[in-house]
Amino acid sequence: MPARDAGGGLLIPVQHLRPGDHAFVSYGNDEVRWEVVTAFVRLGLARGEKVLVLPCPGVPEEEVLARIDFPSRSTVPARERGQLVLTSMRELILPDTEFTAARQLGRLRAATDRATAEGFAGLRAFIDMGWVSALGADVGVMERRETGADELFAGRPYTEICAYDRRRFDRSVVAAMERAHPRAVLERLGSLRSARGPGAALCFIGEADAANQAAFVRSLEIELARTAAARRLTVDLTRLHFLSVGCAVALLTLARGAAGHDLVEVRCDGGQRRMLRRLGADAVPRLTPTEVVRPC
């Protein structure tokens, strides 16, 4: 079963991050922690953005590079031309040594301007928040930084992920930091979540692939049962980064069999709509694909 997400409006797959996004992620073990950073770095490089990685202090640079540098040494050219930079919060705020939110925001703003002046499409930064204790910073200061950083993002080509290790921070701190960010990204590649969206829509988030098809189908079946009295169901696919043929056909088949429903509205992007039509959506009278602009 995909997990239910109560505050689903914030959550998106990492592949959906766009310039101007400020996102939270948390992780709980040393394997999973690399999945989001690897995707974030590699997609940023492919989109022509400059990428800063500020790993958790204490993790050797060699390990960071080995994790993101697969297959083979494929990110070496990006490092050689200055597009991919491994750094630290301590280094970022130099020549100052004491962290302040204003100082950090100023440095990141300047780094964004420098990246665009160098010809990159923008700047993205992955910041593991392990630096907070390493620099003796206060969590309260960080929370105010996270909620007061809009000027760094609004209308600017800057994207940031702040990563919190759930083993280092109290649960209440992690929850507060998640609330302090406008976005949150899924912790793992290939994961699927569901959430209640606007108008009680069933929102799918992440990747509806073959491995997640049973969970995808189960969620739809539950929602069809729940909405039987209303005779209307809205399914939102716009926060899916991947929709397999199997899941798309399952959606069409379930809608076709939902004889008690007058309408199954499917909110989707243009590619998903084209896919559903190719797979026979027009033959399901009660199903209405509605193309919407992706909310991110």
């Binding site: 492919a46 990747e207 692939d209 491995a211």
Partner: protein
């Protein structure tokens, strides 16, 4: 996170056309990472949406078919060949011919199989199925899907 398989231009056989971008062995567990790597290469080569998403979908459907029907694993090679992005997926299963892919989309009440490869062929600018080398006894299959970049 991933099991790196050495790849790189220096290892490309002299007779292989184009420029090799990616070479990976995969299992079901590695399909999400495989999609990420294919998407990354496609973006780098300038394949724009919505064609990039369609290409990743086609690759996933072919790779998933290899996982399901050909022993749980396969091998992917992605190349830039002229103005095309070409993906070749090889498996060590019993092999199959393009004739098993339905010409017309099966109805929603029809057989549940074949739609993935049907859609992969539909979105491709070039698509072919051939027999593998059969190094391990089984014939195997090689499925090639390509899209134009311009």
């Amino acid at each position: 996170m991933l099991n790196p398989e050495p790849a790189g231009q220096a290892e490309v056989p002299a007779q292989e056309p184009g420029r090799r971008l990616l070479q990976r062995r995969f299992t079901a567990r590695l399909l999400p990472q495989l999609r990420l790597l294919v998407e990354e290469c496609a973006a780098r080569e300038g394949l724009c949406e919505p064609r990039r998403g369609e290409f990743v979908l086609a690759v996933d459907e072919i790779a998933g078919n290899a996982v399901e029907h050909a022993g749980g694993s396969g091998r992917l090679v992605l190349r830039r060949v002229g103005d095309e992005l070409e993906c070749r997926i090889t498996d060590a299963g019993p092999g199959f011919s393009e004739a098993v892919i339905p010409e017309l989309l099966p109805g929603l009440d029809g057989a549940p199989k074949g739609r993935g490869l049907w859609l992969a062929r539909l979105v491709a600018d070039r698509f072919a199925v051939s027999e593998g080398t059969g190094a391990s006894g089984a014939a195997g299959a090689v499925v090639t899907v390509a899209v134009r970049l311009r």
